[in-house]
C-alpha cells in the first residue's frame, strides 16, 4: 500500500493558490480582439494551481485507487478478470488506432476482416451464428435481442404476445429491458435448489409469452439443471428464449447456448473477453442469434464476398442502435484475447474460473453459509448473511466494508435480491491459489471479528482516507451541484 494511501487528498479547489499558473503563454503577436461582453464571465471560480501540483494530485489519487492490476476484484456477476496487456498492444497498432470511421470500406478492409472474424468466433462460441457487434454494452445488447424477438413475432403476424418471463434471480437489466421494449414482465420463482421452478413456469407461460430471459449459470452461480426443459416449455408455447450472456465465462468452450436451446444471447466483451470495465474503456455487448433471425439484426453487419468485406443492412433490420461501427477498440481487444487462447484452450477459462470459485467456497463454507450448500457452484457463489445478522448483529455491508481493511476489493452485496444479506463472490480464473488463500484467510478472520468485536465491523473501513460513509444521508439529501469554496487572495491580504 502506498505511503500516501491513508491521507485524504484535498480537492484541486482546496489546493488553489491565487496567482499560481500552469502555463504562461507568450505575448500575442496578432491584434488583440476582446470577446463580446455578454460572453465574458467573472464568476468562474477555477482553481489556480501549477502543473506539478496537478500531476501530483492525480498521481496521489491513482495510488489510492484499487484495480485488477493490484489484486483480486471479486465482484460477483461482473467477471473482473485481469486484462492482458497484449490487448493494449493490439489497439495501439496504427492500423487500429488511426483508422477513421468515415474511411471508405475499400480502404479499411483489414479492420473489417477483424470484425468479420470476430462475428464468426462469437457465432461459433455461442452456437448462434447470426452476429451483430454493434451494441455498446450488455444492457444495450439485451434491448437489441428483445427488439429482434419482437420483430420476429410481428413479422409472423403474431401480435398477441405481450409478456416476457423472467426468473426472480435475474439481473435487474432483464426486466428493465423488457419494459423498455414494451413488454409486461412476469416473474418466475426459483426453487430450493436454485433452479427455475418448472411448475411456476408452466403456470405462467401462455400464448402471450413473447420470450423468456434468463442467465445460465444464474446469478446464484448455479447451472440451470432444467435448461432444456425450460426452453422446450417456452418454445412449445411459441415464445423465444433470450440468454443473458453475462455469465458466459463459466461455460465458454464447454457448453454452447445455441445447443442448449437459446435463440438469442448477448455477451459482454468487457466480462468474458477481458476488455476493461468502466474507466478502462467503453463496454461492448455483441448479440448472437439463430440464423433465421439474422434478417432482424441492427445495421450494419460485416459480410464477406470472395475476399471483399462490406457493411450490409439486414433485410428486416430493427435499425441502427449505435453510431458508426460499435465500440471498435473493445472488439480489437476481444479478438486479440480469443486469438491468444486459440480454439483448443478457450475452455480452460471456464474450467479454471469454476475451479477457483469452488476452491474459494470450500475454504470459507464452514464459517459462512452458502445459499445452496448441496450444489457445486459454477464461476461464482452466493453466501447468505442472515445468521451473522441474527447472531452477531453484523450485516453484510459491515463484512464488505471490513474486507477493504484487508486490502481487497469487496464482493457484490445485496444481489441477487432473492438472497437475504447476500454476499456474491466471483474470483475469476485470473487468481492464483496463493491469492485465493489470502482472500479466504481475510474472510475467515473477519468472521471471527464479527463474533468477538462486531463494533470493529460496524465502523469499518478503518485503514482508508475516509472511513464509513453515510450512504443513507447521501441518498436522502444528495448534493448534486458542487460549489467550490471562495479562496481568499493572499496577495490582497498582504
Amino acid at each position: 500500500m502506498s505511503i500516501t494511501a491513508n491521507k485524504p487528498e484535498p480537492l484541486l479547489y482546496e489546493q488553489s493558490n491565487p496567482g499560481s499558473i500552469g502555463y504562461a503563454l507568450p505575448e500575442s503577436d496578432v491584434p488583440h480582439t476582446p470577446l463580446p461582453a455578454h460572453l465574458m464571465r467573472a464568476d468562474l471560480n477555477l482553481p489556480e494551481v501549477a502543473e506539478v501540483d496537478v500531476v501530483r494530485h492525480f498521481t496521489r489519487l491513482s495510488q489510492k485507487n484499487y484495480c485488477v492490476d493490484l489484486g483480486i476484484y471479486p465482484l460477483g456477476s461482473c467477471t473482473m478478470k485481469y486484462n492482458p496487456k497484449m490487448n493494449e498492444d493490439a489497439i495501439q497498432l496504427t492500423g487500429m488506432s488511426q483508422v477513421h470511421p468515415m474511411q471508405p470500406p475499400e480502404t479499411a478492409q483489414g479492420v473489417m476482416q477483424l470484425m468479420y472474424e470476430l462475428q464468426e468466433y462469437l457465432g461459433e462460441i455461442s452456437g448462434l451464428p447470426a452476429v451483430t457487434l454493434q451494441p455498446a454494452a450488455g444492457a444495450q445488447g439485451e434491448l437489441v435481442g428483445i427488439l429482434v424477438i419482437r420483430a420476429y413475432h410481428l413479422k409472423r403476424g403474431d401480435t398477441g404476445r405481450s409478456e416476457v418471463l423472467i426468473p426472480d434471480s435475474a439481473h435487474g437489466t432483464n426486466p428493465a429491458t423488457s419494459a423498455m421494449a414494451g413488454y409486461r414482465v412476469v416473474e418466475v420463482k426459483s426453487d430450493a435448489r436454485g433452479n427455475m421452478d418448472l411448475d411456476d413456469l408452466r403456470s405462467k407461460v401462455s400464448d402471450k409469452t413473447a420470450a423468456i430471459m434468463f442467465t445460465n449459470p444464474n446469478t446464484l452461480g448455479l447451472f440451470e439443471e432444467h435448461v432444456r426443459e425450460v426452453n422446450k416449455i417456452v418454445h412449445d408455447a411459441g415464445g423465444l428464449v433470450y440468454g443473458d450472456g453475462a455469465n458466459l465465462n463459466a461455460i465458454i468452450g464447454i457448453a454452447r447456448p445455441g445447443d442448449l436451446g437459446f435463440d438469442v444471447i448477448h455477451s459482454n466483451l468487457h466480462k468474458t473477453f477481458s476488455v476493461p470495465h468502466g474507466g478502462g474503456g467503453p463496454g461492448s455487448g455483441p448479440v448472437m442469434a439463430r440464423p433465421d433471425l439474422a434478417e432482424f439484426l441492427p445495421t450494419p453487419i460485416v459480410s464477406k464476398k470472395g475476399d471483399v468485406y462490406a457493411f450490409e443492412t439486414p433485410t428486416n433490420t430493427i435499425g441502427r442502435i449505435k453510431s458508426f461501427w460499435g465500440n471498435f477498440l473493445a472488439l480489437v481487444r476481444a479478438y486479440t484475447y480469443i486469438r491468444s487462447y486459440g480454439k483448443e484452450h478457450l475452455r480452460e477459462i471456464a474450467e479454471i474460473s469454476v475451479l477457483n470459485a469452488n476452491y474459494l467456497l470450500a475454504l470459507v463454507r464452514d464459517v459462512y453459509d452458502p445459499q445452496v450448500p448441496e450444489r457445486t457452484c459454477k464461476h461464482e457463489f452466493v453466501l447468505n448473511g442472515t445468521r451473522f445478522k441474527k447472531e452477531y448483529g453484523v450485516n453484510t455491508l459491515d463484512v464488505a466494508k471490513r474486507i477493504i481493511d484487508y486490502g481487497f476489493y469487496p464482493p457484490t452485496i445485496y444481489f441477487p435480491l432473492i438472497v437475504p444479506e447476500c454476499l456474491m463472490i466471483e474470483p475469476t480464473e485470473t487468481q492464483s491459489k496463493a491469492s485465493l488463500d489470502e482472500f479466504a484467510a481475510a474472510l475467515l478472520k473477519i468472521a471471527e471479528e464479527a463474533r468477538t468485536d462486531p463494533q470493529l465491523l460496524h465502523n469499518a473501513p478503518h485503514n482508508t482516507p475516509v472511513t464509513r460513509l453515510d450512504d443513507v444521508k447521501a441518498a436522502r439529501e444528495p448534493v448534486l451541484n458542487y460549489k467550490p469554496p471562495q479562496i481568499p487572495d493572499q496577495r490582497k491580504a498582504a
Binding site: 453484523v394 450485516n395 443513507v472
Partner: protein, 136 residues
C-alpha cells in the same frame, strides 16, 4: 443496519406474501409494509406513492420503496380506490423504518374490495412462512 431488535408481527393486521400489511377500519383499509420488510430493506431513502383517486386491483403495484440496497415495488393487498396517501414520507422516509405499522403507513384504500381480504394471511401464518423460508 440490523437493530438486533425482535421483528414484530401485530396480530390485529392482515399480511400479503409481498410483505404489505392491512388494517381495516370500517370501509377504509390502511396499508404499509411490515416490520420484517423494513428490516430486510434497511434504511429507506425514498417512498413513491400513487395519486389519490386512483383505482387499482389487488396485487397491482401502487408505489416504490427505495433503500440504499434496492428499489422494491409495493403491491395492493386489496383492490380499491386510493383515498389518502401518507405525504409525510416524502420528507421523512425513515419513518417507515422507525414505525412501520404506525406513522409509516403508506396509503388508505376506500372503498376497498372486502373479498380480497380472504386471500391475506393472519400474523401467525405470515410469521411462520417467513421463518420457514417459504417467503422472503
Amino acid at each position: 443496519m440490523s437493530s438486533g431488535k425482535e421483528i414484530s408481527y401485530p396480530t390485529d393486521l392482515k399480511y400479503a406474501a409481498t410483505h404489505e400489511w392491512v388494517r381495516v377500519e370500517g370501509d377504509t383499509a390502511t396499508v404499509g409494509i411490515s416490520d420484517y420488510a423494513q428490516d430486510a430493506l434497511g434504511d429507506i431513502v425514498f417512498v413513491e406513492l400513487p395519486v389519490v383517486g386512483m383505482e387499482l386491483r389487488a396485487k397491482s403495484g401502487f408505489g416504490v420503496v427505495e433503500s440504499v440496497k434496492a428499489a422494491s415495488d409495493v403491491f395492493m393487498p386489496v383492490g380499491g380506490s386510493i383515498s389518502a396517501t401518507n405525504d409525510e414520507l416524502a420528507n421523512a422516509p425513515e419513518t417507515v423504518n422507525a414505525d412501520a405499522f404506525g406513522a409509516g403507513w403508506m396509503i388508505k384504500i376506500s372503498p376497498f374490495n372486502a373479498d380480497d381480504l380472504a386471500k391475506l394471511m393472519d400474523a401467525a401464518t405470515y410469521k411462520s412462512k417467513i421463518e420457514s423460508g417459504e417467503i422472503h
